[in-house]
């Protein structure tokens, strides 16, 4: 089990009409590992994440979860995929039923996937709330009564309930205040250590990706332009686009002329 990747993606292509959003993307994720997908708008990073979660079907290419391909939209196929892989979005507000308490929402996937009584589920929900740092009172609240950080905690609790092997996080901390973002990142770090879950962390923010991942791929125009250990990518970027991304991050003594040079190096025509 330790040598088999829990998630293996190869030659993934997604076309929307004439536009190729994802163009031959492939990577592997080992159990308990954390992979970053870095890119800007239009890079195809979110489309890739949506394909992993089964929200979009790829035009071609394969996704192997735990060694078996996930294909089709049958109930059985969708359940199997969801059992192994869960997704967290930037703003979880839209993914909670506004009329259902947080605790009930967290119990929902368990009802669908796991055997057990209502009492078992209640006990597990209490355990999950505690694990993500939410009070019992927060569990009894409606989504609208929680802050953005608390809702993100709730979304994580719901995703963890059925003990998936992979969590796909799409810009999961991008909308949060710095002090709250740090809380969620710390929580995610701890959860991975304690449960051995693997992350696919999709983000435009290299600093956050550095903190939360071991390896990363950099995407541009639907293609992976660089891949490797996250630290190596940050210290010795090989692709000119990665260099541009890095130099675009503000720092005291920020050299904007260098950013312009990077851009010319990337697109000599402009």
């Amino acid at each position: 089990m330790t040598s088999e990747p829990v998630l293996a993606v190869s030659s993934l292509v997604k076309r929307f009409g004439d536009v190729t959003a994802v163009d031959g993307v492939g990577f592997e994720l080992m159990p308990g590992a954390s992979l970053g997908i870095v890119g800007e708008s239009g890079s195809g990073k979110t489309t890739t994440a949506r394909i992993l979660a089964g929200l979009d079907a790829p035009t071609s290419g394969t996704v192997l979860l735990d060694g078996e391909p996930v294909t089709g939209r049958s109930r059985r196929a969708r359940l199997r995929r969801a059992r192994l892989l869960q997704m967290i979005f930037q703003d979880p507000y839209g993914s909670f039923d506004p009329r259902q308490s947080i605790a009930a929402s967290i119990a929902e996937p368990m009802r669908l996937h796991l055997p057990g009584t209502a009492a078992d589920r209640r006990a597990r929900v209490a355990e999950l709330l505690d694990q993500v740092g939410l009070s019992e009172r927060a569990g009894a609240s409606l989504p609208r009564d929680l802050s953005g950080g608390q809702r993100q905690r709730a979304a994580i609790a719901r995703a963890l309930g059925i003990r998936p092997r992979v969590l796909v996080l799409d810009e999961a901390v991008a909308a949060l205040d710095v002090s709250i973002q740090a809380q969620i990142l710390t929580l995610l770090d701890g959860l991975r250590r304690d449960t051995g879950i693997a992350y696919v962390f999709v983000s435009h923010d290299l600093a956050v990706v550095r903190h939360i991942t071991d390896t990363a791929v950099v995407m541009r125009h639907g293609r992976i332009v660089e891949r490797g250990d996250t630290e190596r990518i940050l210290r010795e970027p090989r692709h000119p686009y990665t260099r541009l991304l890095l130099d675009s991050i503000p720092v005291p003594g920020w050299d904007l002329d260098r950013v312009a040079r990077d851009r010319r190096a990337l697109d000599p025509s402009s």
Partner: protein, 335 residues
């Protein structure tokens, strides 16, 4: 306003700062039910200076920036003083405010699509302010063309006839910057102008903004949640927490020697791509607004250094190192 008045105002303005906010307080309602929003906010932007205003949600940074244009929430009462190029904003009537917004101070926002009328052409948007000042239409069109060239829009002549939806976010923000600078303001208020843009686009737009500001000598108040960005481009930075200024420091000093526990905590909570990989340290609790903040120092319920004397009164601002800081024990922060 008569011609004579205008002349005197202009004379004092050349001597005054681009923006002077002193002891600004803001509250909605009155008496017991009053909801406080800002308390004792003092911000100065010199001519040609870039000043950062940094804070998390609810810190009051946008409210402070908007006060420079006399834009207050409905039913809010302001105390203290706000002057833009010598004009007293709080005492200004409707006509004077309109004149202020038309000629002395411009504002750019996070989302350019919300700031620009989608059914009007870019050319109309750019000439509107100039025409309102009485610039002849041919001359206004020439200025607009010149501005579009300066902000790096390809085919500026064609761009004048296009609509906002034909531009990408980064390009449209350039158009908005051109519009904001078209009237030659003394003060530019930039409220998270690059937050919605990609990082590489952000770098371009910042480069443009700084270049334009430098050549024109415009004072800029740059509102952002991004400490790195503020420190990278600002001469001075104010850090806000719960409706108050907690620290004022030179942009570069903010990183090397934060003097307020909140500033330090923010830095420790932010992951960085530079230097060695370090653990981030989360700040417990969540950001507060002034109305829900504890008495005394508003940060004391989240502060690792807080003690009983932090609850006594709102800490007075005092000098510490190169900072001005509202904390009773900054020496423990820098230690």
């Amino acid at each position: 306003m008569t011609v004579q008045d205008k002349k005197t105002a202009a004379d004092t303005a050349t001597r005054a700062d681009a923006l002077g906010i002193a002891g600004l307080g803001l509250a909605i309602g009155s008496g017991e039910d009053a909801v406080p929003l800002l308390d004792g906010v003092t911000v100065r932007v010199g001519r040609g200076e870039t000043v950062g205003l940094v804070g998390e949600s609810g810190s009051g940074k946008s409210l402070t920036a908007r006060s420079a244009l006399g834009m207050f929430p409905r039913g809010a009462r302001a105390t203290g003083s706000v002057t833009v190029g010598g004009v007293d904003v709080l005492a200004a009537g409707r006509a004077a405010l309109r004149d202020l917004r038309r000629t002395r101070a411009s504002m750019i926002f996070q989302d350019p699509r919300a700031a620009i009328n989608p059914v009007r052409r870019v050319g109309d948007y750019l000439t509107e302010g100039l025409r309102a000042r009485g610039v002849p239409s041919r001359e206004a069109a020439a200025t607009a063309l010149d501005l579009l060239e300066q902000v790096g829009i390809r085919d500026p002549r064609g761009a004048l006839r296009r609509h906002p939806h034909e531009f990408s976010g980064g390009m449209l923000q350039r158009v908005v910057i051109a519009g904001a600078l078209s009237t030659g303001p003394e003060l530019l208020l930039a409220d998270e102008p690059t937050t919605a843009l990609d990082v590489t686009t952000q770098a371009e737009v910042i480069g443009l903004l700084k270049g334009m500001q430098r050549t024109r000598g415009t004072g800029m108040l740059f509102v952002t949640h991004d400490l790195d960005l503020a420190a990278a481009i600002c001469d001075r930075v104010y850090v806000m927490y719960a409706g108050r200024i907690v620290e004022e420091a030179a942009g570069t000093a903010l990183f090397s020697a934060p003097a307020h526990p909140y500033t330090k905590a923010l830095l420790e909570a932010s992951p960085s791509v530079h230097g060695d990989r370090t653990e981030i340290r989360a700040i417990r609790g969540r950001p507060r607004s002034l109305a829900e903040a504890p008495s005394g120092c508003a940060f004391r319920d989240r502060c690792p250094l807080a003690d009983d004397d932090c609850a006594v009164a709102v800490p007075a601002v005092r000098a510490h190192g190169t900072s001005a800081v509202a904390c009773v024990r900054p020496e423990e922060v820098t230690r």
